[in-house]
Amino acid sequence: MTITSSGPTTATPLVPAAPAPAAPEPTDTVTFEIDGLETTVPKGTLVIRAAEQVGIQIPRFCDHPLLAPAGACRQCLVEVWAPGRDGNLAKMPKPQASCTLEATPGMQVKTQHTSAEADKAQHGVMELLLVNHPLDCPVCDKGGECPLQNQAMSNGRATTRFVDVKRTFPKPIAISTQILLDRERCVLCQRCTRFSEEVAGDVWIDLQKRGAQQQIGTFDTDVLGFAGDTPVGASTQDTSGRPFASYFSGNTVQICPVGALTSAAYRFRSRPFDLVSTPGVAEHDSQGSAIRVDHRRGVVLRRLAGDDPVVNQEWITDKDRFAFTWQSAPDRITTPLVRNAAGELEPASWIEALDVAAAGLRAAQAPSDPRETAVGLAALPGGRLTLEDAYAWSKFARVALGTNDVDGRARPHSAEEEAFLGHHVAGRTLEVTFGDLVAAPAVLLVGLELEEEAGIAFLRVREQVVKKRTRVLSVAPLASRGLERLSGTLLAAAPGTEAEVLDGIVAGADDVLGDAAAALAAEGAVVLVGERLASSPGAYSAALRLAARTGARLAWVPRRVGERAAVETGLLPSLLPGGRPVADSGARVDIAAVWGVEHLPGEPGRSAGEILAAARAGLLGGLVVGGLEPADLPDPAIAREALDRVPFLVSLEVRRSEVTDRADVVLPVAPPVEKPGTFVTWEGRPRPFTQALTSHFLPDHRVLDRLADALGVELGTGSLTAVHAELDQLGGWDGARVDAPDVPAAEPPAVAAGTAVLATWHQLLDEGRLQSGEPFLAGTAKQPVARVSAATAASVGATDGGAIAVSTDAGTITLPVVVTDMPDLVVWLPTNAPGSAVRDTLHADAGDLVRIAAAPGALTREETGTGQDAGRSAHEEVGA
């Protein structure tokens, strides 16, 4: 670790920090003057940017470095002199907008500091901007951090000459349950509409009307004065029943230079000058977005996007921004809990809880009755750990529990996947990065919905697609809206046939597959595979073959924040930290030396599924579980039975869960906002963050250190410094890797009449545990629907807009049907949307056979969603 390491280290750190981005290639430069200061900038640089670089701030509203120039607000006017054809310097007749003006050689720019004309122009525009602004700063959320307020002070008149009537609008309209628009405050800079169009590709708001009546709006028939006929068109509805907004809508609130866009979650909650800001890293996905956590007196009030040009630029998903209340939910576990004689969990001291846990684990490890079959220990740490916590779990399992039965994959998984991770992912950090995605001429997605599962990668790739530099291809059962916005080419594959399609991508094939092979053969092409391939036999093997065949680089993009850290630290039954195979004795010696132990268990352990199966069969003595939801596992019923059956269960959790309800000892751990640590992105990039809130809760690595201590083992993970020192000492591995998987593609199942192959993936906003307590956000989720092809719908008598029942022996999910262009005999469901808990209800996953039948009547929103409540409470909030 380079984060806090001190003292000499020999090897490469386990997860090395990314090198500083290389300086850009020297390009043509332009030398010119701003306020008498000579400066040299790359050709094409805007004057306003060049001025920033020499420390001259020109006031602005519409200008944003990540959006195309607009020149709309006219606040940044400057006086410009430029050499004419005769070479003599001549003043441009009008003041120029510095946000749209490229610097040219010999130009002389005079800003408000040196030009009376520029200063007057800026004062004039500022006065005009305030003409129709309500000046309600004392009650405005933006007050105190408002560019309009600040620049009105620095570049405006002290008093107004406007004594006339202001244009007014009703106070905010809710353009989604989360985003509120106060049109009076809007200065019509169009940052929000330009973001929606240029960056997110969700044109959910736009300019309407003209002149002083011009306003930002959605297609709202009331605002536009339409009567009767409403527009036609396939607009996806969110769960509140409004036209679907955007997963990135919160960014518009942050870039709004006035208080026109606010979020329902933060409205009227706080003043910016009362907030303490701590930089952080978002915990919702493997993207590692930089965020800023704003808190006041121990309460997080909002989160904003941080600025990190190499990762998330200045954008984050709405989930990263708004889903933080889970960390302070009412069901937080506040003290250790121990199950008493009556079978109830009751609060206990740390000392007592650790003693009970240690005793229970020791007994399970070596039962007094030699005939006891339930023997041995295992650990299921979950997929949301920091690097330090994951490392502590890995070491705890091997050293304290004495087992390789540890698996961080709390989701469908396979042995093929494990081999793939060990062979291709572990220890190979930063081989494919966001920078490589941005530079790639072609990106092939396999079993991965970028927008739903990797929001920042979606935005970064889309930026290149818009610039026509990148081509996107996707192996998936259907072209999602996200893929459409990437102008992507669909290589249609029913779930389970991914391997077949990947093997079909060969140069010279005369269809779209040959075209894909040609695209991937280009220098720098990238193949991104998602965790969903674990449920498609042979797909990972085929992806490796494809990469070898085309020369494209292959990267694994998991959903959860801790997945990559788990792989790097050996939270897999066959893998030790740094990609060292368990089966490799040299690797074991390597690790044992650093850990100061005699030996390490040499047999690869059992996977999560095998551990749970063993526990269910009564063949496991004790289980230590981290942040894991049984409902996330392929068969939640088996998981619950296993947790019920296992004789001794220890849970490390933030909030009460199905696991803590069954545990014998519950040890509370700190959520990300209450601990420092390092998340690892899908690229293998360490993303260290500091502790935002003062807290007495301990991170997993400290709790495990104490638990190990109670077991009589010195784990040495009692502090970040200790963990980092050990990670540095451990370093990478240059020995043999796990063998590549070579699993043949499975034969497609025979699909009988009335059945179909299930396709499913997680949507960004759904019923996930980390999104609870945020009704405004929940209202912006996509409406849950089932998707089938026209022929499949017809075969069971279902109609577009009608309802379809998808069932297995375990249960039935009924959702409205959207007939979609996709392979026949496939039905798609959202994995964990309201009313569509696929794994919990059906005990099935992608690739499994399910029965389908038309369900009576069309479902209405009231029956399917929980978002109605969100919508209502948002309205009450506005009215309040």
């Binding site: 709309a72 607000c73 006219r74 003041p95 003409v131 000459r161 006339d164 300019l207 003209r210 002083a212």
Partner: protein
Amino acid sequence: MATTLAPVLTDTWDADRSWTLSAYEDAGGYRGLRRALGMQAADVVTMVKDSGLRGRGGAGFPTGMKWGFLPAPDGGPRYLVVNADESEPGTCKDIPLMMASPQHLIEGMIITSYAIGCHHAFLYVRGEVVHVYRRLLRAIEEARAAGYLGTNILGSGFDLEITLHSGAGAYICGEETALLDSLEGLRGQPRLKPPFPAVAGLYARPTVVNNVESIASVPGIVRGGADWFKGMGTERSTGHGLFSLSGHVTRPGQYEAPLGITLRELLDMAGGIREGHQLKFWTPGGSSTPIFTAEHLDVPLDYESVGAAGSMLGTRALQIFDETTSVVRAVTRWTEFYKHESCGKCTPCREGTYWLVQVLKRIEGGQGTHADIDLLLDLCDNILGRAFCALGDGATSPITSAVQYFREEFEAGTHTPADVLFPPEHSSLFTYAPRRGRAALAGVHA
């Protein structure tokens, strides 16, 4: 020597059913096209350059030079877009021309398309004039039936289609880049320049955007030659142009004359100011051009002379006002138009016109303060040259020029309403029947 009329575009307006193709052909129509198709395209461009034809839409940019800005052909499409979104207050030349003789425009579009290598030309006509739209549709239909449009026009191998597009009624769509956005189906707001339309215009392809009258003048130039055209007008403002006289004039209407004619000469032809009245002020080129007064009667109406006298030739929309007219009220009406039509993209025009109207209405109502006149001028200064496009500039011209020539009328607005100083019924050409609301106000002060 008194300048006389030079009817070219207007020559056939008095013919029976002048708008038909046959009437146009009888008067020698489409001979220009035949001649042009026999020439090299580049020679047609050169000819128009030589003629000195300048854009008749207001800015007066040399038409041939505009065509010459197109990059060399790259095999992709190039477009001609004709701006028929005539909607400036007082401007009324293109619409009568398209009503009376649409084939002039069609022939001009074919020749121009041939000259610039365009195979799909667009005609963007303002949405409110449905009658013109229908007439143009019929004209294109007739021309197509006669083989002037379509494939292999007159056996020359040149292909052209014309698409007629009706706007939705926005003044801003007369601004060429806003027009292109509107034509593409987007919200009509001006684009950032560069890139200029010649490089990336309609659908990001090289595009020439010209005014109706400019294009309609092309057939005559090809037929008569550059020298014939240069024989009219002044040295740098050549040719003929439509002068639209309206307001307090005995015989309002279209007067086609060489550029450089004076208002005094035009008024002589039009029977002078209405009986018993004198000229008070007038616009040389529509409401966006600074007003003139009686002292400018002998200013030659060409680009240079009008510019030197402090205004712009614009669209030669000569709105004539006699001494019964309140300049404050006239300017207020114009400013209300600009407020209503401001597209809203940039701050100065959007907020400035909103504010200007309120100040002007105060002065018109006799409620102004002495600070208001300076405020008006300062506001105009904060809009002029600060707006995104020229329409913001245009909104300030009538105000600053009116204060320049008639400051005392604005000062009177601090104590006396305009309709007391200048009762509206005196300037009405018809029986004065005020609309409700205003009538009450007029009654109070009467």
